[in-house]
Symmetry: C2
Subunit: 410 residues, 2 copies
């Protein structure tokens, strides 16, 4: 049996099954030669391909046209992806953690050994944002890419906002419905969004940064008081991954953020993801689509395979072309809040210039550097302090003025 157009698939979870169903729908099921699964005795719908248990043995991969890696472990995925690129194979992956942590060496291996490495499924599910950044914005100076990159946390934030339930209740509901993992840290802690941001920034700005160099604060400390505050001021809270380039300074962060109804991200609800791109020539672009799921993500994995068939690979036209530096000293406006003011006083952050904006000072408005938040992240999480970016200058002024009036009255 010739294996010249054959595919070997690692992992047969939701996305793997979605990918398989696209092969079936396109009369290409015969291309799927082998599927590597953890447990071959597990009950599943019958497929034509050979089922083997996990034991990454890339020797057989040599004869395959493409390797599709859709397992959950980033560590195991690294072996599969790297070893196959090293033998010049075409590799498709949707493993954002693996890619974010090893992008530079994977791109190097792709070039050196003449394979192709595509990973549209790793970022924002069905939105083909990597292809768009790589192709359409290839020659256009990009100023900013931001968005809602994690469906689980967005689902929880929608619940908090629309149903007035607590974070713990909303998380439980999301887990019951399969929108959040049993260990939700990667989603609600902003790590998943951070990995995607790292990949996006490589294509948008040509700079590969390590995840641990960038601040990510999740939604775990968002309280009902924060939600009430947002509603009172006609805002919603969204977990926003943001990258922007000013001169040669690259500013990256994943942070809960107040957005108003004029922001395209305001209407992105539940499990949807969205991306805003701003560039010099094309101007502003906005995309919204399902951020995860068997068929939405399966569709872009299948479209990666078709792209490989057609000889496509990412051009990385901006990579390392400019001397870009990560700028964590960037100051941002935030609202810090907690159950009591003493919690905020004990996170190691200098809040002497912050303005109290509620009656007992447990809610403060002020400017702080990303690096200061990053340095004190563990304490912030432990003390239950929520950090929410506030960008609306009118609202900032309104809060400051109200605070001054209050102080005069006292």
């Amino acid at each position: 049996m010739s294996t010249e157009n054959k595919v070997k698939l690692y992992g047969f979870g939701a996305v793997g099954q979605g990918f398989h169903s696209y092969l079936v729908d396109n009369n290409e099921e015969d291309r799927l030669h082998t599927v590597i699964v953890k447990d071959e005795t597990k009950k599943r719908k019958p497929i034509k391909a050979i089922l083997e248990t996990t034991n990454p043995n890339t020797a057989q991969d040599k004869t395959m046209h493409a390797i599709v890696e859709l397992i959950s472990s980033a560590e195991e995925a690294y072996g599969i992806v790297y070893e196959n690129l090293e033998i010049g194979k075409n590799v498709i992956s949707a493993n954002k953690k693996l890619i974010a942590n090893h992008l530079a060496e994977l791109v190097k291996a792709e070039k050196q050994y003449n394979g192709k490495f595509l990973y549209e499924g790793a970022v924002c599910g069905s939105i083909p944002i990597i292809r768009i950044l790589n192709d359409l914005f290839a020659n256009d100076p990009v100023r900013q890419v931001s968005g809602i990159f994690n469906g689980s946390s967005n689902y929880i934030l929608s619940k908090l906002f629309n149903e007035g339930i607590s974070y713990q209740e909303a998380l439980q509901q999301a887990q019951d419905l399969g929108f959040a993992e049993a260990d939700p840290t990667s989603d609600v802690g902003g790590y998943d969004a951070l990995y995607k941001l790292i990949i996006v920034a490589a294509h948008a700005f040509g700079k590969i940064v390590k995840p641990n160099e960038v601040l990510n604060i999740g939604i775990q400390n968002i309280s009902l008081a924060d939600i009430e505050f947002a509603k009172k001021h006609h805002q919603k809270i969204k977990l926003i991954a943001k990258s922007s380039l000013e001169g040669n300074k690259l500013i990256l962060s994943v942070l809960p953020t107040f957005v108003n109804s004029e922001n395209d991200l305001f209407n992105v609800e539940n499990e949807y993801n969205a991306v805003l791109v701003e560039s010099d020539n094309i101007g502003q672009h906005f995309y919204k689509g399902k951020g995860a799921g068997s068929l939405p993500t399966g569709s872009v994995v299948y479209s990666d395979l078709k792209a490989i068939d057609a000889g496509y690979s990412y051009s990385y036209s901006k990579l390392d072309k400019q001397n870009i530096q990560l700028a964590n000293e960037e100051q941002i406006n935030v609202v810090l809040s907690a159950e009591t003011v003493s919690n905020i006083q004990n996170i190691g952050v200098d809040i002497s210039n912050f303005t109290p904006i509620n009656f007992d000072g447990s809610q403060l408005l002020g400017k702080i550097a990303l690096a200061d938040l990053k340095r004190n992240k563990t304490l912030i999480e432990q003390k239950g302090v929520s950090v929410i970016v506030i960008e609306d200058e009118n609202l900032i002024n309104e809060l400051r003025n109200a605070s001054v009036k209050e102080a005069v009255k006292l």
Copy 2:
């Protein structure tokens, strides 16, 4: 001089110049061999290519790698595009009117003579919607594609809504700023949006329809009273091109439509375009970007050239695969309004089942078939009657109930 990777460009207007600047930025200016212009003595920035006056002489085109057609006349463009496809050339066009009117024969010529024919610049400027429909949604049953496909009319509607000026004043401003043509009929009459809809439907549903089979009503009759009505009911009016497939019935229209703040199109203002796609597997996708302009449209024309270099062509995977019929008998809810009720009575439409929703009956709510509107389009335009689609069921019920109460009172 070898012409193996050379490009011949017809037309050097805004988009042609934008395309040229992408060639320059990518060190590919040498690829531009000849530019055909109307007047070679016209003052313009110097370019390296040969400038020739218009006189479509495709004999020389035989040696070119690609022909890029960016002139305004659809009739002249037809000769250029068709004759070059007939000699097996790669052709790029942004001429929506030409493509919408001749798509079936152009696709046939492309296949028969083995050229490539790409036209991303023809639809929604910088939004790569044709590529997305052709690639990402290739194997996904699409249910609906709708959007704001014309920037000029959207700009005018934004002005009407935000500044309380009349349609004539807003049109004048748009013309002064270059957002509308001296003869604005194609834009404000919904023809430009219609051409784009025809192209979108071919890729989304695999059915090529002639523009004159589809209803398009523009924004010329939208009055300040319509805008006030929209504001009162928390709606905006947008010119929406819509295509949907129900079973094998394809429903197409371009019509002014009330949208509320839950609709992604609500926040699309000024010269921006947007597209909503709904499919079985991928779900809902939304895209927003600049709908026109030198660099936004030039960027996708350049990306078409790079796609041709890479061997890409549209797959038309859905074309003529199903027995799809155009369904103009589809009934829609509309608000008809005019200065006086007699104007509405004289458009040839049966309004006996319509409900009056203002005091003098010059504003009526009711259900009507697309075909009935299409048959009486000339009278509707002449009598100054505005036709606005209303989709919000709550608002329809609210208007009906208010009308009943009013009738009881009288």
